[in-house]
């Protein structure tokens, strides 16, 4: 099969899956609908592997030409300004696309398989909305494939919005829960705020280049830079707005923790492994634009670094396992942006790749715990689960070690590269990143120790902890292999297969000096963090409580997430709502009142004339004719004068 055919089929197969599930769901075969999803996503994954093989086989001399020639599927719409053609539905296949597709599809397939077990009750009956769930998942996979395959900014925006829609639908999957419905709405709206900037950025690109396809824009961005560097910076910053929204960076991070209201597989797939990394993908894809502007890069790095630390501190004081993981995701995404911002773009993509596996693993593990605890996810309510859930514990431990940056696991390699690059480019940000690494290890193992170690404690209503079934455990095992081994494709740092494959399209920097020292430092910090967590949560369990009691304000601020939600409510939502009420009031009273007054004059006059005229419409017609005549006379007169 040719690259063209494969790349068209990859998004189409999950879409077909979604459509068919809709049909089957209507027919009543809903309990079997997961097979269609597995088939669709699995086939797409096979094709993605084939695509990878073929892209890899492209000789170096042809690479540039092949990558920049889009695969046009059909013509979509056009602005028809002279010199601009159609906005096409066109696909771009290059190493970055391949990496993203492999990541997205492999995690998707595992999550789909896991969901077969997760979306059932303890008797094996499918949950309400089972087929809806799989249809949305397939739709999501389609959207994500479009996002990474799209060959121009319009398609990028299409994928961008469609994944947002799927996220909305899946967060609100348990739509009867008010919190889920609110969280879904919030996710969509906060993302829209980011998309506002993103859309303007795309329009600005069109304004300057007259076209929106990647190849043309990236090729000519240098020329624009020569004429007007500020405009390039503005474009880059506007695009970054979109990334801030989608990847939940400061200050638009507020939606992601709430998004945990969705079913856990959704959190694993969309809100940890794939969709939230779309912002990272986008910045890497537009690397040519960002790299031109030092200011934009600095902003990206700064936002990333600050978010990483900010979210890590909040994660210290949360009790909901999924929320801890959510803040951890925000923090890790911050790392990726830090990497992008300091120019280590391929390292950022590398971290995206490894993070997808270990974070999906952690979320799915948390889901397994939740399944066993009858929906309870608060680490204060249970403990010592390692005996009851041995497989979940083992895999969760591997994921945690990878997240904490334990030496030789996948997270270690990728995170270390970013920290190293940050140190070389901007030492203060490097310090920030190291501090975050320490905190990461600590809060991760705080969760591990509280949930799995110590004496067994079960929430009310749960007799004893059951390990989950094969449908759920198998993906956990596969993912933990990924969490252990995924890092080795990037070894040695900066020269691994991964970086080499990406090098034609994603630029990276690599600083040779100090690489080993940095590894030792970050590895040690990870060990210190884990050790500290062990000391506080296993050895001296009273310490944490005392520390929290000693600094109630700090703890409260962390626990309440620095009051950002409250702040937005008070500063943005509230005033807008009041403005809306004012607008409506203005309509009802001011404008209509004025009209009433205007109408009152003829009415008053009319009272005097009622003796002659009673029929309402004739009266108006009369008035109209007279007015018209007067107007015409006046116009003729005025015209005659000039």
């Amino acid at each position: 099969m040719t690259i063209e055919l494969i790349s068209i089929l990859i998004p189409l197969l999950p879409l077909a899956g979604a459509a068919l599930i809709g049909v089957v769901g209507l027919r009543g075969l809903r309990d079997r609908s997961h097979w269609l999803a597995i088939l669709g996503v699995g086939a797409a994954l096979v094709l993605a592997v084939l695509l990878y093989e073929q892209v890899q086989a492209i000789p170096e001399s042809e690479q540039a030409a092949r990558y920049s020639t889009p695969i046009v599927v059909y013509e979509w719409f056009r602005a028809a300004e002279p010199g601009t053609g159609w906005f096409n539905v066109e696909l771009r296949v290059d190493p970055l696309t391949c990496v993203m597709l492999l990541t997205v599809l492999s995690v998707s397939l595992l999550v789909v398989i896991y969901s077969v077990g997760y979306m059932r009750d303890h008797h094996g009956h499918a949950e309400r909305g089972y087929e809806r769930f799989f249809a949305f998942l397939c739709l999501f996979v389609f959207s994500m494939c479009m996002l990474v395959l799209g060959g121009n900014f319009v398609l990028l925006y299409l994928g961008w919005e469609l994944v947002g829609l799927c996220s909305y639908l899946l967060i609100g999957f348990y739509y009867q829960r008010p919190s889920a419905a609110e969280a879904a709405k919030k996710a969509f709206l906060v993302n829209r705020v980011g998309d506002f900037g993103f859309g303007l950025g795309i329009l600005l690109i069109y304004y300057h280049f007259g076209r929106l396809d990647y190849a043309y824009v990236f090729e000519h961005v240098g020329e624009l830079m020569k004429i007007s560097p500020n405009q390039v910076t503005i474009i880059a910053l506007l695009l970054f707005c979109g990334a801030v929204g989608k990847s939940a960076q400061l200050p638009l991070h507020v939606w992601l923790p709430d998004a945990m209201e969705g079913p856990t597989p959704v959190s694993a797939l969309i809100h940890a492994a794939t969709m939230v990394t779309a912002g990272v993908y986008m910045v890497a894809r537009c690397g040519a634009i960002f790299a031109e502007s030092a200011l934009a890069m600095a902003v990206v790095a700064l936002v990333g670094g600050l978010t990483a630390l900010f979210a890590a501190t909040i994660a210290l004081a949360q009790y909901d396992m999924k929320r801890i993981l959510a803040y951890s995701t925000i923090s890790q995404l911050g790392y990726m942006f830090l990497g992008l911002g300091v120019g280590a773009m391929s390292s950022a993509i590398f971290h995206l790749f490894t993070h997808a596996y270990f974070k999906a693993l952690l979320f799915l593990g948390a889901g397994s715990v939740m399944h066993a605890m009858a929906g309870e996810i608060d680490i204060r309510r249970f403990g010592g689960l390692r005996r009851g859930l041995p497989w979940t514990y083992r895999t969760f431990l591997i994921g945690s070690l990878a997240l904490a940056g334990f030496p030789l696991l996948s997270g270690f390699w990728s995170k270390d590269e970013i920290i190293h690059a940050a140190f070389a480019e901007a030492p203060p940000l490097g310090v920030l990143a190291l501090l975050t690494a320490l905190l990461t290890a600590f809060y991760t193992f705080r969760m591990v120790f509280r949930a799995f170690h110590g004496d067994e404690k079960l929430p009310e209503g749960v007799e004893h902890a059951h390990e989950s079934g094969t449908w759920m455990v198998a993906p956990l095992c596969v993912l933990s292999i990924g969490a252990i081994a995924a890092g080795f494709v990037g070894v040695p740092a900066g020269h691994g297969t991964f970086h080499h494959f990406l090098s034609p399209v994603v630029h990276g920097v690599h600083h040779e000096e100090g690489g080993l020292e940095m590894m030792i430092v970050s590895g040690t910090l990870a060990l210190i963090g884990i050790g500290a967590a062990w000391f506080v949560y296993v050895r001296r369990r009273d310490l944490a409580v005392r520390a929290a009691a000693a600094m109630p304000h700090v703890f409260d601020a962390l626990n309440r997430k620095y009051y950002v939600d409250e702040l937005y409510d008070a500063l943005v939502v509230g005033p807008l709502r009041r403005l809306g009420r004012f607008c409506y009031g203005w309509d009802t009273y001011a404008i209509n009142g004025l009209l009433w007054l205007i109408a009152a004059v003829p009415r008053a006059v009319g009272y005097g004339l009622t003796t002659f005229q009673r029929g309402a419409l004739q009266g108006y017609a009369m008035g109209m004719t007279i007015g018209l005549l007067l107007l015409m006379c006046w116009m003729l007169w005025a015209n005659g004068r000039t």
Partner: protein, 649 residues
């Protein structure tokens, strides 16, 4: 075009005859049908419904036939952007000279015509109208229980009038149809409406009528001025649109007169659209009208206003349009934000949807006054897309109302559980309205913003408009706000714990809990169209753009060039004073300096000509220093030669 089944016998077959007079048939079918329905016995409700539905369906088929004929008659399938399917008949000729008198040179003073034709602008709107009306009729089957006969007769009458507006090629005819739509709708609201129906109907009627009185004055004045362009042997005064288009192009209308005329037309059209702050009739009328009335009102009637701008104000009064563009754009932007915020705080779902129209049509106006192809295409697509999605939203709201007799968000909730099919449709239409890519709303919104954004750029086919980045940035907040209120609606009505009003589901409504088959038949075609127009709008765009260029944009560009060269002349004038040009000179048309024949600038560049791109890249950059000056737009290398060629002539 022989129809299937039409005899292949000699001469004019039935099929040929239909094809020849397809527009007249299109307009007359519903009007005659209304009479037919009125003749049926009132008690035969079932057959009344069936007959009116078949008449509306027949009209739809005629509309499809007409658009097929249109495409067929157009050379190169509409690339030229000309009108087609012309039909003309004299309505009133005065004085009515005999043949000998005419031969001896006497020409009538006044000729009123029945003149219809379509082009790429009107065909999409005709199809929209023809599609929505049968659906509205179908949607009324369960809701309308009283005075059934009158209701359907009025609906069909309204249908004919709306089609007439889009077909009319004579300004007076246009005005007649435009006004006539008020009458059936007035009764529909006043008789079958909600609790405040009388007030709503009166307000709607008087409001719109008050505005269109001024429009009528404008129509008369324009018609009267048409004597300057009477061809030999033709009547002095005529309302033929093709003639009226020439007036402004030839400089008959001074800028001041154009301004007044523009305001006169604005009064009628702006109220219809509605543009802030003339929108206050809309929430009330939409809310009080019966479901089908609201759907038609939002789906088609509001478009009469925007269509009026597109068909009359912009091309007939181009200079005034250019001058007023920033003002109207600001009103549109205020409307976008104001309408969205007001929609958000509504407690009545129907009112929420009504206010959303205020917001959405702001986009439509904005695109139109960007004076760019992208903006105009976006605006026209917006009319179609808004017509589909908002009408559908009204249908869904009506279906909820028929079951629960309430539309208040605090009395409803969690309907997704009991009504999954309804939920599916409501979400699809809400998303189409929000502008989700892949559904229809996105493309129009994107093009409108694109047009607004690039409005201050001059392109080879026309100088710069007067909007720009600031306008687009403010308008783009609409994409956040539209999501705010529509998702608020979905959240309140569909999600959350189940909540029903105290009296619960109305078991006497004869409806099932979820949508009936009839109701699905109403919504499904719209949903399919929303998807198709979002994924493959190419045929529609290809039909629209040549017409927009030929009918509207070229006239605007001509005026912009004239204005720019006049400005330049003025700046030269105080250095070397020229003899004053008197009014006669100004009116004498093509000889006037700076007049550029319309066909002059249409350098048909290949779509991916790179040489222009590089320049276009450089142009806006220079533009940044002086973005909004029209004269700067003309000075630019790629436009200037054309302008000066025209001027030197």
């Amino acid at each position: 075009m022989p129809l299937p089944g039409a005899g292949a016998a000699s001469g004019l077959t039935m099929g040929d005859w239909i094809a020849e007079h397809v527009l007249t048939l299109l307009i007359l079918t519903p009007i005659v049908g209304a009479g037919l329905v009125a003749l049926l016995p009132s008690a035969a409700e079932a057959s009344i419904r069936r007959v009116s539905l078949s008449i509306a369906t027949a009209t739809l088929l005629l509309a499809i036939l007409a658009s097929g004929r249109f495409l067929q008659q157009q050379p190169l399938f509409g690339v030229a952007g000309e009108t087609a399917l012309h039909e003309r008949a004299d309505w009133l000729v005065w004085p009515d000279y005999t043949e000998e008198q005419t031969e001896s040179g006497a020409r009538p003073w006044l000729r009123l015509q029945y003149s219809v034709a379509v082009d790429g602008i009107s065909v999409p709107l005709i199809l929209l109208t023809a599609l929505l009306t049968p659906l509205a009729i179908l949607a009324s089957f369960s809701g309308i229980r009283q005075r059934v006969k009158e209701y359907y007769a009025l609906l069909l009458l309204l249908h004919g009038a709306m089609l007439g507006v889009f077909c009319a090629r004579d300004l007076l005819l246009f005005y007649v149809f435009f006004e006539f739509t008020l009458v059936p709708l007035y009764f529909i609201i006043a008789i079958w409406g909600g609790s405040e129906r009388r007030r709503a109907a009166n307000m709607f009627f008087i409001y719109t009528l008050a505005g269109s009185v001024f429009t009528f004055a404008g129509v008369l004045y324009l018609g009267w001025m048409s004597f300057t362009h009477a061809p030999t042997g033709e009547a002095m005064v005529s309302f033929d649109m093709d003639r009226l288009y020439l007036l402004a192009a030839d400089g008959v209308l001074s800028p001041a007169v154009q301004g007044w005329l523009f305001l006169a037309f604005f009064a009628g059209f702006a109220i219809k659209v509605p543009i802030f702050p003339l929108h206050t009739w809309l929430p009330l009328a939409h809310t009080e009208a019966p479901t089908a009335g609201s759907a038609i009102l939002a789906g088609v009637l509001l478009k009469l206003g925007t269509y009026g701008f597109l068909r009359i104000s912009l091309p007939m009064l181009p200079e005034a349009s250019l001058s007023f563009a920033p003002w109207i754009a600001w009103l549109a932007i205020v409307g976008i934000i104001y309408g969205a915020l007001a929609a958000w705080v509504q407690r009545d779902v129907k009112k929420l949807v009504a206010y959303s129209s205020v917001s959405h049509l702001g986009f439509c106006m904005l695109g139109m006054f960007s004076m760019k192809m992208a903006g105009l295409t976006g605006a026209l697509l917006y009319m179609v897309n808004h017509g589909l999605s908002t009408a559908a939203l009204f249908f869904v709201v009506g279906m909820i109302y028929e079951r629960y007799h309430t539309r208040r968000v605090d009395e409803l909730g969690g309907l997704a559980r009991k009504m999954p099919v309804m939920t599916f449709f409501l979400i699809v239409f809400a998303l189409a309205s929000v502008g989700l890519p892949g559904l229809n709303g996105f493309i129009s919104e994107f093009l409108v913003l694109l047009g607004t954004f690039t409005s201050d750029q001059a392109t080879p086919d026309g100088p710069a408009g007067s909007l720009g980045i600031t306008y687009a940035a403010f308008a783009a907040t609409g994409i956040i706000l539209s999501a705010v209120y529509l998702l608020f609606m979905c959240r309140a009505v569909l999600f959350g714990p189940e909540k029903e009003p105290v009296h619960g589901f109305d078991r006497h409504s004869g409806l099932t809990q979820d949508l009936t088959r009839n109701e699905v038949a109403v919504l499904a075609p719209i949903a399919v169209l929303c998807l198709v127009l979002g994924v493959a709008p190419k045929p529609l765009i290809e039909m629209m753009q040549p017409a927009l260029k030929q009918q509207t944009l070229s006239r605007l560009s001509a005026a912009a060039l004239v204005r720019a060269s006049a400005e330049k002349e003025r700046s030269l004038a105080w250095r070397s004073p020229e003899p004053n040009r008197d009014r006669e000179g100004a009116a004498s048309g093509p000889q006037k300096a700076g007049y550029v024949p319309v066909q002059r600038f249409a350098p048909n560049r290949s779509s991916r000509d790179p040489s222009w791109q590089i320049r276009s890249m450089a142009a806006p950059l220079r533009d940044r220093t002086d973005p909004r000056s029209v004269s700067a737009g003309v000075e630019r290398d790629n436009v200037h030669p054309i302008a000066s060629k025209g001027a030197s002539r």
